[in-house]
Assembly symmetry: C2
Homo-oligomer: 295 residues x 2
DNA sequence: TAAAAATACTCCATAGGTATTTTAT
DNA sequence: ATAAAATACCTATGGAGTATTTTTA
């Protein structure tokens, strides 16, 4: 036998009224079944809760100890519907979000800010990761959503949905003192400088997109250094290790000695989008995707 | 309609098994009523808890949010019998204890120490108070027990029980330099010195007991100063304001310049006892009284 | 097509009601 | 004498069982 919330409600009513008859009225029932319910509660607890005479009743020590506990528990149980509904609406919960370092300079900050504002109770778990790591994480469902650079491999298209968020042109990051005078907007101009690049292993699509810009112009640049994060690449440019092609939004990352130059002779763009599992029913995820839709 | 613990138990079982059939077996019941109970729980909560296909079920966001709450609540509800039983045994609860300052040097410390040891969960509320204040407090039931100096007034004898704890001889407290050489054990020896005394208003019984010692010997001492607490009286003796008659145990209160002298020519004693309301059923009080009994 | 949840119905345990007794003031 | 809790007994709601249907992987 086990304690039911009904018994706790009855106990609280009797403890507060200190009168079985009045408590029964308050509970919309008659006195005898209330007496029986309290007796059965006392049985289960293994302690008497009331000193009874037919004229007046009072709480025993066990009753005194139980009353605040019972009230607290009842209150918490009554709050469960609200809890469930808020969870179902995506107002509470958790969002595991991964992003490529580029997103850190474009889509991520405004999205995060407005999501936090609308869903302050949602715990957001952020992971910086490359696109292929994110795709693996999505495959094993260890993240809810990834902000990454396409493509989505064919074998994952059946379980993963993707939505484009932003397309940015590539621009040139170059050490200030290497800059040619008078708006040299041609990549060709800098053909003799080595380049800093993402490793092909880590981000093959992005790596190839950049190299193809050079190949289109018949250039075969020397790769002086590889780096995984945008800020490292910019740091290397600033240290005069070479030039780099980066998404336009990275120019928000100001660094002394680094100049960003739009290019006129290449059309290369880089796309960032959101990817998530088709079978992920999380209302928090839905809320996040709705918000991305709006922006 | 309201949530019953039965429904929470069912939910936890299904959420852990992720299978209605197996959960039903675990709960010693059949599957259909379990499905119905979960449905009715979902109705009350206003949220669905499981994504169901006939092949497999999984928790919704609402279910995920509810599961830890439900487990916690069930655990707490299951701990209520233990709580009630400990309260009934006096192992948890509160003891409001008042004591006269004299008790602070005799009965109180050992009693408190062993009670704390046996009932570490009991919260003890200590008040230093004179006997008459304690009796008033007992009358309006604002304390559980008082350590005081008798007598109990007649009009309270019907509602208050009393038990003698200790009887101590009165001894002389005297400034070191006033002490006559060679064991002057007669009160008479010091008849010319003024005395320090409890105010009659505050502790008439104790006041009168002390004065009667002098009167027995035909002495009428000058009262130089009155004080309510033992340590104040001893401080005044040390400041050479006069001599004092104090219970023997007060000699534990060493103070430079104060000498304690047994007296051979008086028989006066002071009694300390415990008083409590007859109608106080508190198991904590019972435990405390049992312990006093032993000592 | 087969495993599992939902539905339909049946039944009985027990929550709750009515009538009465007991008890303490 | 009376108010109030306990007891005895009855009723009926709804929790749980059995049989069957529906669903989807």
């Amino acid at each position: 036998m086990s304690i039911e919330t009904r018994q706790l409600r009855y106990f609280v009513a009797v403890a507060e009224e200190l009168h079985f008859g009045r408590a029964a009225i308050r509970l919309n029932m008659t006195q005898p079944p209330l007496s029986q319910a309290i007796q059965s509660l006392e049985d289960v607890l293994g302690a008497t809760l009331f000193h009874r005479t037919t004229r007046q009743i009072s709480l025993t020590a066990a009753g005194h100890a139980l009353l605040p506990e019972a009230k607290r528990l009842l209150q918490q149980i009554e709050s469960l519907p609200a809890l469930s509904q808020r969870a179902a609406a995506g107002d509470i919960g958790e969002l595991k979000l991964a992003f490529v370092s580029i997103a850190d300079y474009s889509v991520l900050p405004p999205s995060l800010q407005s999501f936090r504002q609308r869903h302050p109770q949602v715990k957001i778990e952020l992971h910086e990761a490359t696109s292929d790591v994110q795709l693996q994480a999505l495959e094993k469902a260890s993240i809810d959503v990834g902000l990454l650079i396409p493509p989505i491999p064919d074998h994952l298209c059946s379980i993963i949905d993707y939505r484009r968020l932003r397309v940015e042109p590539l621009i040139l990051a170059i050490a200030e003192h290497r800059r040619k005078r008078k708006a040299a907007t041609q990549l060709q101009t800098y053909k003799d400088l080595p380049i800093v690049l993402f490793p092909r292993k880590i981000a093959p699509a992005f790596h190839d997109r950049i190299l193809s810009c050079f190949q289109q112009r018949g250039l075969t640049p020397e790769i002086s250094q590889e780096a995984i994060q945008m800020q490292t690449i910019i740091a290397l440019v600033s240290a005069d290790m070479g030039i780099a092609l980066v998404p336009q939004s990275v120019s928000n990352l100001k660094r002394p000695g680094v100049y960003y130059q739009n290019l006129s002779d290449i059309q290369a763009e880089v796309e960032i989008g959101a990817a998530w599992r088709k079978d992920n029913e999380s209302p928090v995820l839905k809320a996040f995707l709705n918000l991305l839709e709006e922006q």
